[in-house]
Subunit: 382 residues, 2 copies
């Protein structure tokens, strides 16, 4: 098996992640922040340590402003529905995932927000000026993915952050693809809110995600419930993280995520990016030599978070992915990747693409084998 | 350590739960329902097997009507916000957790729903007729906890389900306390929606919960996002479970929960209830002999889901819980348990209570030791 579907869920996880989750389940998985006994306190301390480990990756100074969610989708829904309101205007890009577009379209339909989608070029790259031009009196929020989940193209986050801050707009970044390997400093990039999953580049388990909310962003709750704080009130507390963390937290998952974050801090996000890029570059340069391959990703490390999207002639992307799996044991993801706008931008809205997404644990030899497999398929399908 | 805080999170878990979660993390934790390769398919099949195992506990015929959530709180928020609307009327009880009351109060404040809270007697017991009397033209929903998380008192679910069905109202049950040991047949009880966590009586991990939605209940989404289905649409699919399951699922958690459900099916929910009740009865009968103990729970197995709530004279509940922990290694939960209405009903809104909640893994000898500890504290505090 050659697993190249890390943009969906990274696999395998570092040994330390699995081990600490199992230890948590067996030794201290009581309810964090609820009771006062040692097991509950230990669970609470472990959650706090994870909060801090994650914050330190992104220069988030106050760990209480990091909210744990079940996945990036929940984090994005909280951010979007917590800041948009009837009559407001939101600007986003054509490269967004359905976890951004579906909440926006639902709000547009249900409460009447205005949504402007700025289209990227043939690679999905956005011109920051195209975003700036769309700012209106009722604009409150700019949303951009850090990089595309279809072809890895990196967005001009620094420029967008600057534009948002100059216009006093909230700036929400969907860091689902890139968190864990790309350098992200929320202060330097003027990021108001950042959503990311735990189970992709951060090497944690599924069932985890985070939302960072900077100071001064007025945000409403999507859910209310038990928080273990202000327990005698029928109203949600108004302080973070409790305000946005209702119900029992996923302690074993969060512990795993924190362990993943610590692993990344030790290994170095830069080194991880370099290793992923090394693999991506081999794939891209190799694919570009194979007859019939249509390539939708670039090999420049600064413009690609670690994804290679291709098609082979007019072969259905699902079929190519199936052949790679059945005949060569190479695991990819075909189709539309929950991002119809991105596919329209890339011109692949009818075919989809086959997505190869290596992790730091893949080997050069696996890339060579993958190129060899694709070359064989190419010859067979002439 | 004697862990008597199972109403917060059950601990320990069956060995099989920990083992299967670890195996999932190490062997097949790819993204379920997204890609087509064997690892993703295996994860998807494991999620489906868990869905079926849980459904079979509650006589839920169609496993696609069971939605996985991060906890019971999310499930309750989806159910309440998905069915209530501006100007509608909701009836509930004074024994509800903040995970019911806070969403209701937020809707009351933000979109103008009407909320009627029917008060229980001094034990929290609700007279079904008191609910029936409150039904009005604009009533759409009746919500009741299966049993109180403060003193374990069981609600007249069958009668309430009948009343709701007779009046064509939706009936939402918060089964956070009782699912896994109490007999629940959603069909027989006329339950329209049922929310429950995975990490309590179902013996699964934190980070898991479920919402059952019966056929014919019109429900709106709380969140939208990637579902792996209808990927080319910017609108959420309208079929279950996808409609209410946005973003990557918590595969290792769900696998653990499914394993917990299978463990319960094998052991027998009735046998688990009997074992828990045996322990609860020893505690209640023992406590009632100790001078100065105020008891808020009943020992009748049909009226108590497995919780013993007490106070000792005028000792602060937090202090009693602290002494039990520090001097005797007995872990309980003191305070208000996120249920201010229940404490008002029981007359403990100023003191809180100390809550003892055994699991099937506790031993009779631990109950005897606990009684002995409390007797000693009682004599010391005369």
């Amino acid at each position: 098996m050659i697993y190249l579907d890390n943009a969906a869920t990274s696999f395998p996880k570092p040994e330390c992640v699995c081990r600490e989750m199992d230890r948590c389940m067996r030794e201290y998985c009581a309810n964090p922040g609820r009771s006062g006994h040692p097991l509950s306190l230990k669970a609470g301390a472990a959650v706090m340590a994870s909060r801090e480990a994650i914050c330190s990756l992104f220069n988030i100074c106050d760990p209480m402003r990091l909210v744990f969610t079940k996945n990036a989708t929940e984090a994005l829904n909280i951010a979007i529905k917590g800041t948009a309101f009837s009559g407001c205007h939101v600007i986003t890009t054509s490269m967004e995932h359905n976890s951004v577009m579906r909440p926006l379209r639902a709000l547009e339909r249900d409460i009447g927000i205005e949504v402007t989608v700025v289209r990227g070029n043939e690679l999905g790259e956005i011109d920051p000026d195209d975003i700036r031009k769309e700012i209106k009196k009722n604009t409150v929020l700019i949303i951009s993915t850090l990089s595309s989940n279809v072809n890895g193209i990196v967005m001009p986050i620094k420029e967008l952050g600057y534009i948002a801050s100059q216009s006093d707009l909230a700036f929400l970044v969907d860091a689902s693809q890139g968190a864990g390997s790309m350098a992200i400093d929320v202060e330097e990039l003027n990021i108001s809110m950042m959503a990311f999953p735990g189970h992709k580049g951060l090497l944690g388990p599924q069932g985890t995600g985070c939302l960072y909310v900077s100071n001064g962003i007025p945000i409403k709750t999507l859910m209310e419930g038990g928080t273990g704080s202000n327990s005698d009130s029928h109203y949600q507390p108004d302080f973070l993280p409790d305000m946005l963390e209702s119900g029992t937290l996923n302690t074993p998952g969060i512990v795993g995520l924190g362990t993943g974050a610590s692993y990344i801090a030790t290994a170095g996000a830069g080194k991880i990016a370099a290793q992923k890029h090394r693999l991506v570059k081999i794939l891209i340069e190799g694919f570009s030599q194979i007859p019939g391959v249509n390539l939708y990703s670039v090999s420049d490390i600064n413009r690609n978070s670690g994804i290679v999207a291709i098609n082979l002639r007019d072969l259905d992307s699902g079929e190519l992915s199936y052949i790679l799996d059945k005949e060569y044991g190479i695991y990819t993801r075909a189709g539309f990747h929950c991002s119809p706008g991105a596919h329209k931008t890339l011109g692949t809205e009818k075919t989809g693409v086959v997505r190869f997404s290596p992790s730091l644990f893949n080997k050069v030899s696996e890339m060579i084998y993958t190129l060899d497999a694709l070359e064989k398929i190419s010859w067979k399908t002439i």
